[in-house]
Amino acid sequence: MIAVGYTLVYGVLRLINFAHSEIFMSGGFAGYFVMKALIGSSVPNGASTVFLIVIGIVVGGTTGALVATLVERVAYRTLRRRHAPALAYLISAIGASYFLFNLAGKEFGRYSISMPQPYINHPVFHIFGAVVQLYYVVIFISGVVMLTALDRVVAKTKLGRSIRAVAQDAETASLMGVNIDRTIALTFIVGGALGGAAGFLFGLGTGVVYTMGFVPALKAFTAAVLGGIGNLRGAMIGGLLLGIVESLSVVFVQAAYIDVVAFGILVAVLLFRPTGILGERLGRAA
């Protein structure tokens, strides 16, 4: 899901959004505070669990979108106004990323905290001998819902059409009456919302900490590249594939080297098939 956020922004801007990991983190923290506020001492059950998760996703997504907008305004739009070279975008995005996560570290403390759980995590069913816990079911369902929604938005709505238009050819799109600034901002919002929601779901399982965005973001990027960056469906497939490869590689290498495996895949894909599995164009595929 983070991969999709990346791919969306990338597809439009042809630039990696380095601050995406911090959008992810902000979603995680927002989710944490909401959960803390809403969940009392007793573990909720049934309908309230579903309600809480939906709330968490919405709040995480909203925060993510908000942070993404801020980043776009400050670190991207000012540069775009001036037609700065691409290196400048990269650097300012890195700056934004560093600024945000260290600010979070300062404000929220620099240690990991586990999120109050809206349910008791228990095995739901078994598949191929593997235990599937409730947490994964939650992630799976919300992921499918959100990605389907996104796919429809990009394919069918006016916003989706303008996103695709800008992705294909910004200059021509602006001649056709598409407001580039607006479209880019909206893309950031959609991408940010997805990232924030993903941050909440991730935090639900592993807790939140100010550096939580870094490794998932790197992996998401790998997934996006794997599926063909700028290609939404590709990113989804890439994400799945990467997850499978990582889980399988646990058999062959020590757990500490899983990140190395992910990174190795990234380099290999970039070298041998830089367009990914499904090709690069956002405009064409979505």
Partner: protein, 448 residues
């Protein structure tokens, strides 16, 4: 109503200045936790008075005043900025023409060198002696190295610290301080390790660069970032080779036997400072010569327009790999010095954060400008050491990266060429912003 208020430039400007000041309040405020996440504001709004931050008074009054001041300054800059700019450039024209003269430049360099030589005597303080070596000297060296990669060749390398780590670990290996036995079972002096470390680091640069430098700029940034992480992961987990997170064993100090000269380095930082200085001068001279050589010009050509450079017979990959290897060399040397000075090394000292830190030094000083990078690195590292030495209330060492991140954005928005820009770079950015080249390319950055 609200719409018109929002579009009113004065209201907007004030709102933005207020937000900026508020952010500063938050940044300089006391650290918080998840229990009290808004503590940055608690010092400003919710408490009557607070002793945190810039001024010892009621914070919100101070910051509100600051916001007003910022607003007024901004407005007057918009009104008179052009005139002020013209006057300053006129005023600076005469001193500038003086500093461009060769004897003045040489004289200035000699003076700077003399100050650098006498510095340990001028600032006679144990903390600053070690800061001079560990924080300032080493980082100036690292920044000049990264400048070759980022500044000259225009390649964004986010894993630069990996080379630094490799240099340090090579030293530990050569001196027999790692679980892995030293080559030929000898226990070499760190001086012997210097050429070996530089060589190994350059090979590492070539090995990393040769496959990855074909990639576009933003991919390259991610790949180098991953490389930096992987080196740390390996250093952390290969217990049999690197000692894992426990770090290396004790690393001996270098011993110099050169004819009548005989000197043994010890834990004292000042001798290391001089060692760094000697090599820094060598590297600086080498890089200055390099910048104006055929290779340096090739780098500039690639940076400005890779396709055009290729069409006039420059092999971009070859020169990019060269930039990587040459840039890495200073990191290798810095690694040797750090390793032998700090006695033992740990994987935790080579993090992504330091990579970004070095990048900030380069950007702040001015990409591609050797002099600018040195000055910028000194300024930032001195500020950092000062904050370490006498931290203001509420400051934590890790906050540094927050400020550095903010600095990166601010530099990119207001002065992308850096503090003391190189002439070539300045012209390039100006051209690019004037719309030279395809519009799409400039807007979305197809070339880097």
């Amino acid at each position: 109503m609200i719409q018109s208020l929002y579009r009113n430039p004065h209201v907007r400007r004030f709102a933005i200045s207020f937000l900026v000041v508020e952010l500063v309040a938050l940044m300089t405020g006391p650290p918080g936790s998840t229990e009290a996440p808004t503590s940055g504001f608690q010092g400003s709004y919710f408490e009557d008075s607070s002793f945190y931050g810039l001024f010892r008074t009621q914070r919100w009054i101070v910051f509100f005043t600051l916001a007003v001041v910022l607003f007024v300054l901004w407005s007057s800059w918009l009104a008179k900025g052009v005139a002020v700019r013209a006057t300053t450039s006129k005023l600076l024209a005469v001193p500038r023409s003086i500093t461009q003269r060769k004897p003045v430049r040489w004289g200035f360099m000699a003076a700077a060198l003399a100050v650098a030589l006498l510095l340990p005597r001028i600032v006679n303080d144990a903390f600053w002696h070690s800061a001079m070596t560990e924080q300032i000297g080493v980082f100036v060296l690292l920044a000049t190295g990264l400048n070759v990669v980022v500044g000259f060749a225009g390649l964004l390398d986010l894993g630069y610290v990996a080379f630094y780590a490799i240099g340090a670990y090579t030293t530990a290996w050569m001196t027999g301080s790692l679980p892995m036995p030293a080559p030929f079972h000898g226990h070499y002096d760190p001086f012997v390790a210097i050429p070996v470390a530089i060589l190994i680091v350059m090979i590492a640069g070539i090995l990393l660069g040769a496959p990855t430098l074909r990639l576009r700029g933003d991919y390259l940034a991610i790949v180098t970032l991953g490389f930096g992480e992987i080196v740390t992961i390996f250093a952390n987990n290969l217990y049999g080779i690197t000692g894992g997170s426990q770090g290396s064993g004790p690393i001996p100090h270098p011993v110099l036997h050169l004819g009548p000269l005989h000197y043994v380095w010890s834990l004292k930082p000042v001798p290391y400072y001089y060692l760094l200085l000697v090599f820094l001068v060598i590297f600086l001279i080498a890089f200055t010569l390099l910048e104006h050589s055929r290779i340096g010009r090739a780098w500039t050509a690639i940076r400005e327009d890779e396709v055009a450079a290729e069409s006039v017979g420059i092999n971009p990959l070859k020169y990019k790999v060269m930039a990587f290897a040459i840039g890495a060399s200073t990191a290798g040397f810095a690694g040797v010095v750090t390793a032998s000075q700090s006695n033992s090394i740990f994987p935790s000292s080579f993090t992504l954060q330091s990579s970004i830190n070095i990048l900030v030094l380069v950007i702040f000083g001015g990409m591609g400008s050797i002099f600018g990078v040195v000055v910028g690195a000194i300024i930032i590292q001195v500020a950092y050491s000062y904050l370490l030495h006498t931290p203001p209330q509420g400051y934590q060492p890790a906050d540094l990266y927050m400020y550095l991140g903010a600095l990166l954005i601010v530099m990119m928005i207001f002065r992308p060429v850096g503090l003391i820009p190189s002439k070539r770079r300045k012209r390039e950015i100006k051209l690019s912003e004037a719309g030279e080249g395809h519009m799409d390319e400039v807007l979305t950055g197809d070339t880097l």
